[in-house]
Amino acid sequence: MTELENINPNVYKKCEDRKLTKDDEDEDVADPFDEREIFDLIRNINDPEHPLTLEELHVLEQSLITVDNAKNTVHILFTPTIPHCSMATLIGLSIRVKLLRALPPRFKVSVEINPGTHASEHAVNKQLTDKERVAAALENTHLMEVINQCIGTPLK
């Protein structure tokens, strides 16, 4: 195994599970997608390097997610653990793939780096936005194995 890029990342506490309310069990109540629901879908994605989730590394935070259920848009900002993280594209791609599979196709998902937190922020964002390149990446079996490992259930 190659040397870890970021040997000692800061680790943060996970947030509490979402409390169920009465309305959650009422089939007649419309339940639009909100920030918390999107966060729950992606917070347990594994970091490619560490046996930790993107939430525990503060790569993802609920406050950096914007959802407009009516306009079908989901916007996610993620914060790489270090400004030269070479895994940034892979992490962003894992978030995209997870949401692609979990959300109805009407949603337009954009995944970008939290401004000012990565040296190649613009290049990484451009690649993650290019749906043609994302489509080609998803046909790459080796890459998909890595991504599936990241978005699979936590290794605990």
Partner: protein
């Protein structure tokens, strides 16, 4: 305002439909997509509705990104993420893949035939544009010879498009620029002209107008730009190097598209511009009647929420004014009729 009326919705592809191309007669068209197939749709007898005629499979092993008919109508080329371009013909009566062009290092993004029919161009994620010469011989196999590998772009090349009459090629790239290529009459080598710079993100598509004096481009930066050719004899005093032409951006359409503009087509019959956008909309623009050719103005004359997901491709019918088709991530192909307001 004009209106866009839905004529027909065609389903059959599984997953995203990337591209489509009208046969030069306008009586059929081909489409391609994520499901690795090319589908050929023909006009049912006497009617104006199209039905599936053939599904071409087993030609390519990954997504088919683009399709193009030769002007003679006998050949269909398909460009795939599997790095190849397949050439289909109907010499045996059925569509068959009778040639496979290999050489690109990475996904092939676009393919286009020259007006003369003797040249084919392809472009790829590998940053290069290739020009192929075609040698058709009766009763023998057709041969395709690569005559130029052009490495002007610094990134992924998205689209190639031939001039409507001349052997002038244009390409659009992830590096935000458009490039033009022509043959040097002295040594027959293909050379690159100066890049066309103005877009601030990926240029997804380009198209010439009927005269070939103008070019339209569309981009990830949500704008459409129009470029005008100025030759050495231009009256505006625009300097032209070595007796060749320069292309200047003379108009930017901004504020109309809310997301990436994935495709653009310039109708050779009516002069109308149509765009395919990541906001699911199909839009039609018309040049204003008092438009100055050196500072043209275009107006939005119709728009419609064409699909439930991104629109990837828009193509005007080659003969019937106002008829166009769109393809989308939602797996559907739609035929539309544009008509002017009364």
């Amino acid at each position: 305002m004009g209106k866009l009326e839905l004529l027909q919705t065609l389903t059959g592809h599984v997953g995203r439909v990337w591209s489509a191309a009208w046969h030069p007669t306008g009586t059929m068209f081909a489409s391609c997509g994520e499901d690795k197939t090319v589908r050929v749709w023909v006009q049912a007898d006497g009617g104006d509705r199209y039905t599936a005629q053939a599904v071409l499979t087993d030609g390519q092993s990954r997504t088919i990104r683009d399709v193009a008919w030769s002007y003679c109508g006998h050949y269909l080329a398909s460009a795939s993420f599997d790095t190849t371009v397949a050439i289909w013909d109907r010499k045996s009566g059925e569509f068959e893949c009778n040639a496979t062009l290999e050489g690109h290092d990475n996904e092939v993004k676009s393919v286009t035939w020259s007006r003369s029919g003797s040249l084919l161009a392809t472009c790829s994620r590998d940053k290069s544009v290739w020009i192929w010469e075609i040698h058709h011989a009766p009763d023998q196999e057709d041969e395709y010879e690569c005559v130029a590998v052009l490495n002007g772009h610094t990134q992924d090349v998205k689209k190639v498009c031939w001039h409507p009459h001349d052997d002038l090629l244009a390409s659009a790239s992830y590096d935000n620029t458009i490039r033009l290529y022509k043959q040097d009459p002295v040594d027959n080598e293909w050379e690159m002209l100066e890049p066309l710079e103005s877009h601030t993100s990926t240029v997804w598509s380009i198209v010439f107008d009927a005269t070939g004096q103008r070019l339209a481009s569309c981009s990830e930066d949500k704008t459409v730009k129009l470029w005008q050719r100025y030759g050495p004899d231009n009256t505006l005093g625009i300097p032209c190097p070595e007796q060749s032409a320069v292309w200047k951006c003379v108009c930017t359409l901004s504020g109309y598209h809310t997301r990436s503009v994935y495709d653009i087509d310039w109708c050779k019959r009516t002069g109308l511009l149509a765009t395919a956008c990541g906001d699911d909309m199909l839009r039609v623009f018309r040049e204003a009647s008092d438009s100055d050719p050196n500072e043209p103005t275009f107006e939005l004359v119709a728009s419609v929420e064409a699909h439930t997901q991104d629109v990837n491709k828009v193509v005007w019918h080659p003969h019937t004014p106002g008829v166009l088709l769109t393809t989308s991530d939602d797996g559907e192909i739609k035929l539309w009729q544009f008509s002017e307001a009364d």
